[in-house]
Subunit: 457 residues, 2 copies
């Protein structure tokens, strides 16, 4: 049944690639208000593309932040209903100087398409619309009732997504939820993700004097906000780099034994890992299993940025009045974002050096960790399609990153989403030179065709 | 003899103020190559103004960096020769958002002129040219042989000044060297500066992975350059904020007992100090004498800026590949800049966390501390003029800031410069909203008139 659809996909793939490039030219950076108009433009582009595909009830739904884009096709009577999730917003492109070609001028090199957001999540998400179109133009119908909920705030922790899903729970109700966001673990090994870490984010600012001061006149006497901040931040980890915040790991439950089995079986190569990320390996080299455990199943506290005082060329003999750092934590099963942020803030208050004023600012509600029911039929359908297409059974993996939607769909639609994304985790999607493998674009179109057919069978 | 000259100054003061404003409109920021043309424009403005004043042999002298501006008037046969030092370059204006009026649009408010560089050192320096003009237009001659050496790199540690003075030692030879740079200690208490701290500057960069990484996928496993840097920088001071670098204070000699006497006599109010700088006072409140000792006679290691990762609005879930900090040290008598930088670099190498690559970059040769011969006749001349004009004998003070020229003139001209500046240390000259008191402009013109007359007598 899917041969015609697959042939249609192949025939239109080049044209669709051009459309994907046009989508990627829109800098829909959700975290920075300067890009607000572009975020709205991306929602409009997507909605228009859905209408062209033949989807129905396409609309841009306000949320209080970036809008959702909704659509459906509900004429497969007797067949199950599948809800597809994805997002049209992207990470900021900084640091711009490190891009080989500009982030919003999509460029193909070596069978890869380079652009900010192409892997996360514009490519993997837009493919689902193309596949729906392929069904409708060839066989005239879809094998399932299909619904789309595509958000525009994933890169800022989806602050309005949960409220929207709660409000639209009847309209979004489905038998199966499939996420086109997420990522294959490695390019050389098919995988399905069955667990992801949660997220909590906050900014820390330390204030010293009321204004920047001359480091000659005041040096040694006045508070230096950078000095205070580095001393304060250095207390957040111990000498081994483990998080040293009292109460941070409160409630953490034991990891799923199946994932521990995977970690043991994949023989993760620590030396190769440090080479791959371009870092000098620490001495002694950590054990591969321990390193993968830290990536998948250990909570983190990472500094995403720091700033204060003068950062231009040359020197400026100033004592900075304030300095700030951005922190995000990845959470594991059992940790609550509220409790984690509260523990960090309490730690910071306890360790704030005398003579400084501490200010903290939390970003969004965060998201707890997520783990899928291992026996979920939709998970098995995904695995069957990948096994058939790629010639080997995918390994079940955890993901260090966060897909806050896991908890949201469970809570409000009573469905656990399966992750069926053709992004790969090495595609630099939060770094310069983000790319999407065109091989994944080709495979993904066929895979989605077969997954919808299988779910409808 | 000086009454006519003083009357001329008073009559022309308003016009001169307009000329000072024009000078301050030129953003001659020496530390940032982006302002290179403006630095040259400022040198041209000054040279032209010197020609108009009637000075001779005016020329712009290349140095390898920003040029010197030189001029003289050498027709006071039998009278001593006085060399005036100053600088026409300015600090960067950042952070721009904190300026009430733009830094390069000079504005008078409350009998103060606000502009970047107006207090340090365009106002105090340009006044000496005006006073020379006043002598030449009224009495037709100067009471001394006068030479000017005005540099354009003071704010970057005067990297080419020493070489230039050495090369021009015969042309610059003088009996007395007077600096129009420096600053009165406090607005309410006339002072002359007899010692200043030295300077050494370096940047520290820590490299982790080869590129920024996704904090979800890699968090907990990859090196985080911000985390490494804060841990490294936190080792540079002990818990009391004292510098904890082995060898940092090597060679430090005991402070001048006369300055210790001043420190005891001025009853420095620690509580008032923290209120003045807008900082919450640390508990327990440090002793006033100890605080002043830290400002004047204690070596420092200050962070002038820190940067790494994402610093924009919202969040970006990235693990920064590199992070940097800018450091300047103030040195006291006996410390050598080379040895201090070497001690810091050795400390950083010793404490660099495993898995990171350390890079350090030194700015310029730095400058040792400076102390004036307490019996220098030119110092007594300065004190006499100030006593006569301000009604009280100025107190001799040390200055926490650095005037690298002290050591330069001593070494190559065999003269110790006296500081005769009408800038005041609270005029925010390395911070937003730098200003120059117009009262100091008025007083300074008369004071320079009388100082030249007294030195020529």
């Amino acid at each position: 049944m899917t041969a015609d659809v697959e042939a249609h996909c192949e025939a239109h793939r080049d044209a669709w690639l051009e459309e994907l490039k046009a989508f990627c030219r829109i800098p829909s950076v959700s975290t920075d208000p300067a890009y607000r108009e572009d975020v709205l433009r991306a929602a409009g582009f997507l909605a228009e593309r859905m209408r062209i595909a033949g989807l129905e009830n396409v609309r841009i739904e306000p949320t209080g932040g970036s809008p959702l884009v909704l659509a459906d096709w509900l004429h497969a009577s007797g067949a199950p209903t599948v809800l597809v999730y994805g997002h049209y917003d992207v990470q900021p492109p900084d640091p711009l100087a490190k891009w080989t070609t500009p982030p919003f001028e999509p460029t193909v090199r070596d069978d890869r398409l380079y652009a900010r957001g192409v892997s996360d999540d514009k490519g993997p998400m837009l493919m689902t619309v193309f596949v729906a179109e392929a069904f409708l133009r060839t066989v005239g119908r879809l094998p399932v009732n299909l619904k789309f909920v595509i958000e525009g705030e994933e890169e800022t922790g989806s602050p309005h997504f949960e409220g929207s899903v709660e409000r639209l729970r009847e309209e979004l109700a489905a038998d199966v939820v499939v996420s086109a966001d997420g990522a294959m673990w490695r390019a050389d090994r098919p995988s399905v993700t069955v667990a992801s870490r949660g997220l909590a984010a906050l900014d820390v600012t330390l204030h010293g004097a009321g204004k920047d001061l001359h480091s000659g006149r005041h040096g040694g006497a006045a508070p230096n906000a950078v000095a205070g901040l580095v001393r304060l931040l250095a207390t957040l980890h111990d000498a081994d780099g483990a998080v040293a915040v009292e109460g941070f790991a409160a409630g953490v439950t034991a990891p799923d034994p199946a994932l521990l089995d995977t970690i043991r079986s994949v023989r993760f190569d620590a030396g190769a890992y440090f080479r791959e990320i371009g870092a000098s390996a620490p001495e002694p080299l950590p054990d591969g299993e321990a390193l993968l455990l830290r990536q998948w199943l250990t909570p983190t506290l990472e500094f995403n940025g720091i700033s204060g005082g003068y950062a231009g060329a040359g020197t400026k003999t100033v004592i900075p009045a304030e300095a700030s750092a951005k922190i995000t934590c990845r959470l594991v099963a059992g940790q609550e974002p509220d409790a984690v942020v509260a523990a960090i803030v309490a730690h910071l208050e306890r360790h704030c050096p005398p003579g400084y004023r501490l200010e903290t600012h939390r970003h969004g509600p965060g998201s707890p960790a997520f783990a899928l029911d291992p026996a979920l039929p939709a998970l098995e359908a995904c695995e069957a399609v990948l096994t058939e297409l790629l010639g080997q059974r995918p390994v079940r993996v955890a993901m260090g990153a966060t897909v806050p939607i896991g908890a949201v769909f469970r809570r409000h639609l009573e469905r656990d989403p399966v992750f069926f994304s053709f992004s790969t985790a090495d595609e630099d999607y939060h770094a310069p030179n983000e790319f999407f493998r065109l091989a994944s674009f080709r495979t993904g179109l066929v895979a989605w065709t077969r997954l919808l057919a299988r779910l409808g069978a």
